[in-house]
Amino acid sequence: MADNSTISGVCTSGLSTVALELQVRRRALDNMGAILEDLARSSQGRFTVMRLGDDAFGFRLADVRTLVRVDGALSIAQRSFFLLVGVPARWPMDRNDALEPCVVSPADWAHPNASGSALCLPLQGVMPEELPGLLYACVSLRKTQLDDYLDRSAAAWVRAHLDQLPTDPRPLFPEIPVREIPVREIP
């Protein structure tokens, strides 16, 4: 018979549901943090991640060419981003409680699906491995939703400049060339 009194080494016997859910959430956050840190190391400094307690992760995306609004005019410029990905109360117990991204800086960033810091980027069912790529796709305007939008002028700009998208064509994870290892015949 399976022993259901432990979850990944955490003793659950006698715990209330609240305590148990908090344990599960912290364990899931630990796992997610470890995966994201591994990915950050392979990005050659393009992005870094930090855990903010039990409630959020901070992502720093360095030197991304993106759409900005300066003096009311939209143009492409290079900016470094700090994004906050909030972890809702019932994550990961409730699938509907998906991670919630928002852009803390830069303040002059523009995107059809963003308004100020608010960013409409549904992250339901997104695995930690996919998260940095999705955020990067958003800030480099690879990913836009033009049927519904929060920023009308940014949506119009995107429609008129499809040939300039994505604003940053570089991949987030630079391809590391695989070094050929010479094969030596064993006599």
Partner: protein, 403 residues
């Protein structure tokens, strides 16, 4: 002793419901909004309608039968210059004042019910009527009532149609059984879960008409009186009228809680530690120390749907960013505001758990719980290695007066 009834939502439907209630009923009037020009034509905030609703309505209709009820109601509450002295006043306070003017007993809870309706208040209720226009408030109220109110008290959810057709619907629940959140769709349950969530497909609730709101308010008051008089067979039913000429009909709702409903429905019990001090006397540091005594040194406050801001606020209108004091969201937003824009500041992130260790050593250590954003009778769920316990502050009616 007067029965204590919560009226959640004092706008269109709630403002019509309250004057239809017996003045012997003691009321807790909860609403977060202030009166805006668009409310005047729909809600019954005018004194005449409240003091004698039937006479006022008859007078309005007989004066000019061609005018719509909306227009006439709006005319009642504006002075010669077109401005109303009610504009900008808190809805909860206005309707509570009107009830007191009739000789009744009423308190106003101005603010988000997620923060103002506390377990201490819920445990004293004899009934509740919720007339909110958003799914999030229905869920917030259900969460408190189904965890802290006495089992079996009647809860009425009253809504009205958007047109002028006097369409209304009243669902009658009893705490412990099926709840309003059981009847919500997954999307409705997610509404208001987070202040930081953004969606490109923003929607606005349809506006009620005065006639529909009035009909719903009167139906709600009449059904509440019947249930409180002992007509318990109404509980578990949805009563509905589909138009002015149509007869009301009823349908039985599911008997038990719906699987997947996020409301606990009595599945979980934990020890409730009644504190001897109220929110004005107790400091955040003292509360955290008590939490560590009871739950262990790793005690963590689990705030549920309440939250503290994380990384600051932005104004949705002018996009101005400001820092966030370590207070519960509404209190923090009130202090952080640095612009004159209308509307609520948006937190960049939210904290739904905080350790007792952080609070004991944090800058809010000596802040009173009231200043921290707690309300009289508030409860805080704490979990740690030794126990899960709810710390519940003392509630006195004088504390509500001071708020």
């Amino acid at each position: 002793m007067k029965p204590l009834v919560l009226v959640g939502g004092c706008g269109a439907v709630g403002s019509w419901l309250i004057p239809s209630l017996d003045e012997t009923v003691a009321l807790l009037c909860a609403d977060r909004d202030i009166i805006a020009p668009e409310n005047l034509g729909v809600a019954a905030f005018d004194a005449a309608a409240h003091l004698d609703p039937q006479r006022a309505q008859h007078a309005r209709r007989s004066a000019d039968p061609q005018r719509s009820a909306d227009a006439q109601n709006a005319a009642d509450v504006t002075d010669a210059s077109g401005a109303s002295p009610l504009l900008g006043r808190k809805k909860a306070e206005v309707v509570a004042e009107r009830h007191r003017a009739r000789g009744g007993w009423a308190y106003a809870l101005h603010g988000d019910v997620r923060y103002t309706l506390t377990p201490g208040l819920a445990s004293r209720l004899d009934a509740a009527v919720v007339c909110f226009d958003n799914a999030s408030a229905f869920r917030d109220v259900s969460e408190v009532l189904w965890s802290a109110a006495r089992p079996g008290i009647p809860i009425l959810a009253v809504t009205c149609g958007g047109g002028d057709d006097e369409h209304w619907q009243v669902r009658l629940f009893a705490t412990g059984g099926l709840c309003p959140a059981c009847m919500q769709s997954p999307a409705e349950r997610q509404e208001g879960t987070s202040s930081t969530r953004a969606s490109c497909a923003a929607a606005e609730a349809p506006r009620a008409s005065a006639r529909a709101a009035e009909a719903a308010g009167r139906a709600g008051a009449s059904l509440l009186a019947r249930v409180m008089a002992g007509e318990r067979s109404l509980v578990g039913r949805r009563l509905q009228r589909d138009g002015r000429e149509a007869a009301p009909w009823s349908v039985r709702m599911p008997e038990a809680a719906v699987p997947g409903c996020p409301i606990p429905h009595g599945r979980e019990t934990w020890r409730i530690e009644e504190l001897l001090q109220g929110v004005d006397d107790l400091t955040v540091g003292a509360l955290a120390e008590r939490a560590r005594d009871l739950a262990g040194m790793d005690a963590t406050f689990v705030l549920g749907r309440r939250a503290l801001p994380l990384a600051g606020f932005t104004c949705p209108q002018c996009k101005h960013a400001s820092g966030a004091p370590e207070l519960l969201l509404p209190a923090a937003a009130a202090l952080a505001r640095a612009c004159d824009c209308p509307g609520v500041l948006r937190p960049l992130g939210e904290r739904r758990t905080i350790t007792a260790h952080e609070l004991v050593g944090g800058p809010m250590r000596d802040t009173s719980l009231r200043a921290w954003g707690a309300s009289p009778g508030d409860g805080f769920l704490v979990t740690g290695a030794e126990a899960t316990v709810e710390l519940r502050c003392r509630l006195t009616w004088e504390e509500l007066d001071r708020g």
